[in-house]
Symmetry: C2
Subunit: 500 residues, 2 copies
């Protein structure tokens, strides 16, 4: 009857009732894996190893013509011999064997299959025809097919990972990723595991999208209680209109950050070769996606950087940024970046200036961005930050805060303590931090200290401002939905508060 | 007679003859430091500590009204009591005491002074007048003044560092930095020390530029044998025309990468407050700087990323990039990035395809960017990279190579070995690498392995392509100078080869 994953307490099914079509891709009661070797370490064995190591709690069925055992688990010669119509089958077979396996799935009443082989619509006319046959087989039997050219899904809450690349445990969190690449269940997942603080809920790697596409997964994530932010990498939205309609609904409650691959003619040509996607006119996409409230970014760093801020922070009431910095060049560059992103820097008010006057020499002028250098002369570095930040945060028309640090032994102090204070005093105002230069050790220590308390940290001014801009975009979208839309430069209504 | 720094072997002067005006800012025979405390750890003490710890080989003279000892070194009550007109004085005194000290320097025949205090042209009309007085005092006595609002200079070859922030030893190298901020002798220097592989020659932090400005330092670096690449951060070129004329000369032999702070109205306003700079019209700058062959970047990451590539790589013969990638999304995004940067992706030729045919399944199409995924099916990951990269590198109209990796245990191999082979076979073709996702440990290991053999490594596709673009810009500039200018899209003449 298959072997329960190591996370299973009772050996029984952790679920009852019928799974929704998409839920079964992330939270199946059982998974069958075709393509593992009994002797070597094939990619199918990597899938099994991920399921065993990451704590998947459902039943695991290796498939092998000879039966026997694979990696200590009883193997089954075919799907029919499992004794149940398994919730999810994963094919790590060569391209040539894929059609037969998908037909076997259909015959065995399997509801969902993930196909990893490439060489279908990503590779010429013959491949496209083969892919159409796969899709047709799935359609006829009412089975859903993810791929081909897909490494499938990851779900941190169920411990499922169908990736062909060895993963380390990922921190559960509220960001879900839908991507037309396996990178997010491969190298990037390993990067997140070992260097990042943010957590993931679900990852779906869609590959060529013969059947399951962004619309299916987004509709599922819309209702998924573990998902608060959706990050999308797509090379072409097959059902563009449907996606836009759905995205417009989703962004009412959950921000979507999206990176479009194939924005140029050369990129679009590669996209056709990679996932068989038609990249479409970038300008058309951009306008329509913006209309739908989608936050569009230009690269993968932007995708992660914005998703992280949306995961950690409340949405601001408006686009007015208060900046505190110890570096003068930082104030210049952050002002440039805010201007380019359409964020505003409200001038400091009389009252704000009065509050900090005793910390700042009389001759020193002070603006927004506020350069704390002069304040350090009398109050020290920590005192300078603390006084100025508190005053700027307290100014009514400051909607969110960006704090720039440069880490040298001369400015060693506990920033998390006073940033935490500011957040407690103004829970409705997002706080973002930027570390401009630090030794490896200092940088890591500050990064974790600040991210632990929910302050997203960046090492680039432009990335930090981009994330602030994403918060403002998402806030504006939500305010518009509540018919509180205010023109640029005015407040956008009450913050909906921190999301789960 | 002052105390010799720890790097001194003989106790005597390491130099003979007269220093040039600028040379003395980087390689002085002696340094006097005003503003260290005998009891506490003031910023002046940090300067002394940097001189002692980083191996400065000249004489070190702490100045203190009471004489005695500071940090184990004899202190002197004033400059006259040193018994020599010291090559360089560093003032870490408060703003109010600065004018008097600069006058003392002039009276004592000191040739160069660095002034760290802020609150001059960076802070209103009164400050501007005070700064003018400093400059006037220097001018009258023929003394050169760096600052105010400057943390001065770093020279890795002489061990000099006048920074107010504790530095760790920096690897000597061929990049020099001229910046209107102390960041590059502060947090960024610490970041470089502890995480980067590239080396620096000189760093000059110019502050408000009351006297010494970019033109002075650039003219010096033009002739400096240790400098092969110049990185500039400026908030406004006071002597714009002079700078452009000089830059046009410098870029004939040494690439200049430049970041302009204050490119927007808001940024320009902050620049006026930071260094008293007039930021000028960004569009005017951009056009003129491009004309002068300067590589302009948009942020600090671009400044470092491009300078690194220029430091490591030969200049390519043309703008044609060959890309090899294991990730399909990588091929799409790199094609987008190349297109946006005006780089070309020549199609693979018949001969190139013939060379790799036996590594690639018959059904797999192959282009440029080349997705090695299909080749891994028969040749494994390492074999796939090796075969494809060698073939692409061998194609005559490929001028430079970009290789994308994603690091998972399934693709663990020694990339440095075959990248090194490719480089040996084609020493005239720059090779750049991009790591798309890796665990911390894998990422660091690969980073150092590849950078050790002179391959610049990036963790972002766009940064990697930006650096490739910088190489192409610099190559085009040099080719134009040799009257071998070729229109875009054609070869730019022979590569001048790897610089020192």
């Amino acid at each position: 009857m298959g072997v329960d994953g190591p996370g299973s307490k009772t050996g029984g099914s952790p679920h009852d009732g019928t799974l929704s079509e998409m839920e079964g891709f992330f939270n199946p009661r059982g998974v069958a894996v075709a393509g593992a070797s009994k002797t070597g370490m094939k990619l199918g064995n990597v899938v099994l190893s991920n399921l065993l190591r990451l704590g998947y709690r459902g039943r695991i069925y290796p498939l092998h013509p000879e039966g026997g055992e694979i990696m200590g688990i009883p193997a089954y010669p075919d799907l029919r011999s499992l004794g149940e119509a398994v919730d999810l089958a994963v094919s790590v077979l060569p391209r040539e064997s894929t059609q037969a396996f998908v037909e076997e799935c259909a015959a065995a009443g399997v509801r969902r299959v993930i196909v990893s082989a490439a060489g279908f619509a990503d590779d010429g006319e013959e491949g496209r025809r083969m892919q159409e046959r796969l899709a047709e087989t799935a359609r006829r039997s009412g089975m859903r097919l993810m791929g081909p050219n897909s490494v499938g899904t990851v779900s941190t809450h169920s411990g499922l990972a169908t990736s062909l690349m060895t993963l380390e445990p990922l921190r559960p969190g509220n960001i879900s990723i839908v991507a037309q690449t396996g990178l997010f269940a491969g190298g990037f997942a390993r990067w997140i595991s070992s260097t990042q603080r943010f957590g993931l809920a679900k990852v779906a790697c869609l590959g060529n999208k013969a059947d399951v596409d962004e619309v299916d997964v987004l509709a599922y994530l819309q209702e998924d209680p573990q998902t608060a932010v959706v990050a999308v990498y797509t090379e072409g939205l097959r059902h563009g209109r449907k996606f836009l309609e759905l995205a417009r609904e989703v962004t009412e409650r959950k921000p979507i950050v999206l990176l479009k691959g194939g924005r140029t003619d050369l990129g679009a040509r590669m996209a056709a070769g990679h996932t068989g996607s038609l990249a479409g006119e970038d300008a058309v996409y951009r306008g329509a996606l913006t209309q739908a409230g989608v936050v569009q970014v230009e690269d993968i760093e932007g995708l992660f950087g914005c998703a992280k801020a949306l995961s950690y922070c409340p949405l601001p009431r408006g686009p007015k940024v208060g900046v505190v910095s110890i570096t003068g060049a930082g104030t210049v560059l952050v002002a440039d970046a805010c201007r380019m992103r359409g964020l505003e820097l409200p001038p400091l008010r009389e009252e704000t200036l009065r509050r900090v006057r005793k910390s700042v020499p009389e001759w020193a002028s002070l603006g927004n961005p506020a350069d704390i250098w002069s304040a350090t002369l009398s109050s020290g570095v920590e005192g300078g930050y603390r006084e100025l930040l508190r005053a700027v945060a307290g100014q009514e028309d400051v909607d969110l805060l960006v704090v720039l640090f440069t880490l040298v032994p001369e400015s060693e102090f506990d920033a998390a303590s006073f940033l935490g204070d500011v957040r407690e005093e103004h829970p409705e105002k997002p706080v973002l931090a930027c570390l401009l230069g630090a030794s490896r050790e200092d940088g890591e220590r500050w990064f974790y200290r600040l991210e632990e308390i929910g302050i997203p940290v960046y090492t680039s001014i432009e990335r930090c401002v981009e994330a602030a801009w994403a918060l403002v975009r998402a806030a504006r979208r939500r305010a518009a939905e509540r018919r509180e839309y205010a023109p640029e430069g005015t407040h956008l209504g009450e913050s909906p508060g921190r999301r789960p």
